[in-house]
Every structure is written in C-alpha cells, then in structure tokens.
Symmetry: D3
Subunit: 124 residues, 6 copies
C-alpha cells in the first residue's frame, strides 16, 4: 500500500464526500477492496489533492461531468452531497444542471435535478 | 423574433464565445437560421444570462459537460475559447480535464486536452 | 414570464404528454420552477409548435432519440405515452425500438421495449 | 449464405441508401466481408423489410437515433442521404435535428445539422 | 421462421446465459415476440456461433462493452451470469471492470462492480 | 514522482502500446506533463500490472470498451496496435468488433472495424 497517497486520499475524501464516500469504499470491501484503495489513492490522493484548482471548482466540474454523462445516479448523488459540503448552495447546484441542459439535453438535466431533490430531502 | 431575449443572447455570446460563437451562428444561416436564433435566445438569452451563477462558473460547467459527454469537439473548442475569454487560465482548463478523467475515463480527458492544445496554439 | 410562448407551450404539452407532462412540471415546482417554465416555453412553445413537422413525426423523433441515447427511462416513458396520445399504435412503437436496435444495440432496444411494456400496462 | 434474406436486404439497401450503402459494404469487403453480409441480411433483410412501419418512418427513426447517439457521423451521413431518398425534404430533416436538440443537447443537434449541410452540398 | 439459425441460437443462449437469457425472451413474448426471435437468430445463431473467437472471449467482450457503455444494468447482469457460466471467475470479472475504469471512468466501473456483487449474491 | 510505479508503468506501456503509447505521452509533454505521468503510473503501473488478468485479456477488454463507448478513435487505434502487439490476430480483432455490434449497434462496430482497417494498413 502507498501510505502517503492513501492517507492524503482519505483526508480529501473526508473533506469532499464525507460519509457518502466512506459508504462506497465500504461497499467495495468484500468484492473489490483493491479498487476502493486505488480509487482513493489516485482519485482523491493524486487528482483531488492537486493545487491547480480549489475543491469547490473540482466539485462543480464533477457534478457537471456526471450530469452530462448520465447513467451514474449513485455517483452523482454522492457528489451533490460533496458539492454542498464544499460550499455550493442548493440553488447553485440546480442552476448548474440547468446549464448542463444546453449541452446534454433536458432529460440529463431533469435526472440530475431530481437526484438533487432527493439529496436535499435526505439532508433535511 | 423575440427582440429582448435575442439582444441579451447576442450580448452574452459576445462576452463568452466572441468570434467563435458568431461563426457557428453564421454557419447555420443558410441551412437552419431559426436554429441559430433559438439557440441564441434560449441558450444565451435565457440560461447564460441568469443571475444564479457567474459566467466564469458557467463556462467551467460547460467545458466539463462537453468533455465528459464526448463526440462534440467543435463545441468543446468554442467553449475552451470561451473559458479563456471569461478568465480561466490554460493551466486551470487542463486541470479541469484531468478531473474529468476520473468520471469519464482517460480517452475523454485526452481528447479534451488535445482540443485545448489546438485552441491554445490558435490563439498564439 | 413570456406569456405567449408559455401559453403555446402549455397547449402543446397538453396535446402531447397530457397528465404525464404536467407531473414533471409539478415535480419541478419546489426545486427548479424556472426550469419547468423554460422547458415549457422553449421545448413546447418554441420547438414543438413549429410548423415544419407534425406532432406525430415529432414524437417518433423523440422516442427514437431517447431510446438511442439511453439512461432516460422516465422521459422515455412520458413520451411513449405521448406517442400513443398523438396516434402511434403500440405495435408501431415497439417496431420503432426494433429499428433503433440496429443503431444503438440490443440493450438500448430492450430497455425501451420494456419501458413500453410498463406504459402499456399502466394504460390498461 | 442465406439467399432470400440477403436478396431482400440488397433490395432494401438499394431503395434506402443507394450508392452510399453499397460503398459501406464494399469498404468491408477486404477486412470483414461476413459483417457486410450479416448487416445486409439482418439490418435490411430482417428489420427494414418488416411491414410494421413504412420506409419513410424507418429513416426518420434512424436519423433521430444516430443524431442523438452521436459519434457516428459517417453512418448519419449515409442515412441523411437515405432520408432524402425515401421522401423527406431538406427542411424536414433539419427540423428533426432541432427536435433532437431538446433531448440530446445543442452540440448533438449542431453536429447533425452540419452533417446534413455537407450531404445537401454533395447532392447539388 | 429460420429454423436452423433459431435452433443454433437457442443452443448458444443455453450455453451462455442459461435461465437468465430464457427469461428475457419470455418477457418479450407478449409485447415483441419477433424481437425475441430475431435476437436469438442474429445475436446467438449468427454472431455467437461464429468460430473466430471462443465463447469465453465473447463473454469478456460483452461484459466489457456493456460496462463501458453503461445504462444497461439488466443486460450486464445477464452477461455477468454468462461470464461465470462460460468459465470466468468472480475475481477475473471484477478485475475486468477495474480495467474498464481506465477507459470509461470510475462510475461506470463502480456500477458494473456493484452489478457483479448483486449477481454473485444471487448465485450463492 | 513515484519511481517504482512510474517505471513499472513505462515497462507495461512498452509491452502493450509500444511506440504508439510513447507518442501520446510525448504529445502531452508541453501541455499536461503531469497527466502523462499519472496515466502511466495509475493506468499502466497500477492497473495493467496487476496479476488478476493477463495482458492479452486486458487488451481485449480495452478495445471492446473503447469500441462500445465510441468517440475515442485515437485511443482505439493505439489499442488496436496494442491488441496486435500482445498476440491477437487481425481476424480476432475484427471478430471482437462484430460481437460489440450486438451491444452497441452497427455504427459503433463499423467505426471500430474501419479504425482497425487503418491500423492494419499502417503496419503493412
């Protein structure tokens, strides 16, 4: 195990996705533990931790990419939590998905907005 | 024609995509002039002009969505110009595409980075 | 609010998607009311209301696009209702999805056919 | 070889895609001749030849699916030729792609409209 | 009906997808019986039965394609069963999805791994 | 720099993609050198180097995923070279893309087959 990258990844994950991220790594524990570790090391330890963009910008990129791509509702929900955790408001997140509608169509935007609605309700 | 929305759209397009955006609307003039107008009115007059997010955030959303979706290189290039126009640096744009790699894979990120490389060269 | 476009959009929505479309707009009311309005104005008031193609052709385009794109089952179901509402038969809708199989593969076609099966059952 | 299905496929291909379709099958001759034959037998002999929808409807489904899916410009161009061959006008084809914009976003619609522009120019 | 191709398709389906495949064909019986037959004849009778690749390789191709494409969980699950049926181990299937992460991103890989987890649990 | 992972990545890249892979890393040198390094370390040093699947299987997964996903022709070509380098024959690669047609449609398969045709011609 690559301790430094793993520790840095764990720390970033905690700041961004909080409990939601932990649950994903836990769900992988019995079937693909290495994948959970590699995702932490590379995704959070290598990429998220880079200085070139702040965490707030990174989460905006992430939810925009996931909403446009589609077919990844569980990950989108984790990162809507993440976007709220790093300082985006509910209104800004919905506004971001309205912007995505121009490039990925109304259904992609609607799916993302309804995912946001579910996440907002969970956090109440 | 819906003059107010059209005028607002033209103004937003000028601020964001500059000449690149004009060329798209011109290229539509002989085949789908209504589509050029509707895109301006709705995309730029209705959505881009909304106060909920600043232009700089909107362009980050746009290039992230386009990079993740793939198969839209011409539009991605227009909006890499746009991202530079509204204040993102070259380094930040490349960094955004590295973040997209996590969610859409390396090929999507590579295609976006090489589109950025071409745009940066054009502007030199 | 743009009254003329909104009214025309409401009217088109009623003719195409009936109750199903209303439910989508209602579900947006508390989280993204502007998005519901913009979708009505632009989608139904601007595009659907254009004279270049009849409603029946527009719904065939819509269900074909949604089936091929995938990952938008709720919207596909709304528009399978829509396709029935504007005069397509159940057999023709299933036949359309078989045609889509050639271009988007068997899984996309199967998902669309099973969405149709669920919609047909709902309407019985 | 399955003569009846192959012959029916050849006949359908000739009616729909004309020369453009022949070129695809020819281009496969040295690398994947069986794939050319299977595509003809299944795509054109089995699916296109079914009575449930007329050829004109089938081509509308096809160009809508291809435009929404994206990343298949060569096939989209073949079928824009096909759509013209079976009776759709240039204006209707462009209108169809405007309808697709609602469901797959502006870039997908723009790419399809510019593919149509290139096909229309070729035919002049 | 094309008896030879159909019989060969049935036999291949039984070897690959077993009961899971039968259920798909049965689920189509009341809504799209021809589609079930055509899928068997073409998919299993024509393609799967070709000598150029062994069944084990074909199932690896299939689960990799489905995982990368996304939005086809039911079909992915059928073919994770299929991959196990033709001799891949659970560990190899998870490993394949880790490889897919490089090309289609972490969410696509996670969705596939969790589909595998569900299939493995079903078979216990 | 993570020397061990980087060295292992370089070695794997050389075995799989040879010159083609080097060219990608070189093309990134002036615009995104860190991305080239991270891709090598994670993609080739971490994932490709894992013992769970042999290189030959990994390349089959890769070309199947890329063909199904679409919109990544440059990467698909690099890995068609890779598939040939690790022992797949031309006929088997084409056969794999025919199998992909079932799950991602004929256009995706055709694009992959024509990419293979171009790669085979280059190597002659």
């Amino acid at each position: 195990m690559d301790n430094e990258r793993y520790e840095r990844g764990l720390e970033m994950l905690a700041r961004v996705d909080g409990e939601q991220g932990d649950k994903v790594v836990e769900a992988l524990a019995d079937i693909a533990p290495d994948f959970g570790r590699l995702m932490l090391e590379f995704g959070f330890g290598d990429i998220y931790a880079r200085p070139g963009l702040c965490l707030k910008d990174r989460e905006l990129i992430t939810i925009s990419a996931l909403a446009a791509k589609g077919a990844c509702e569980p990950q989108l929900k984790v990162h809507i939590h993440g976007a709220l955790n790093v300082g985006w408001t509910r209104e800004e997140i919905v506004e971001a998905f309205m912007q995505v509608a121009l490039y990925a169509g109304f259904p992609a935007a609607l799916n993302a907005i309804f995912a946001a609605k579910a996440v907002f309700a969970e956090r109440q």
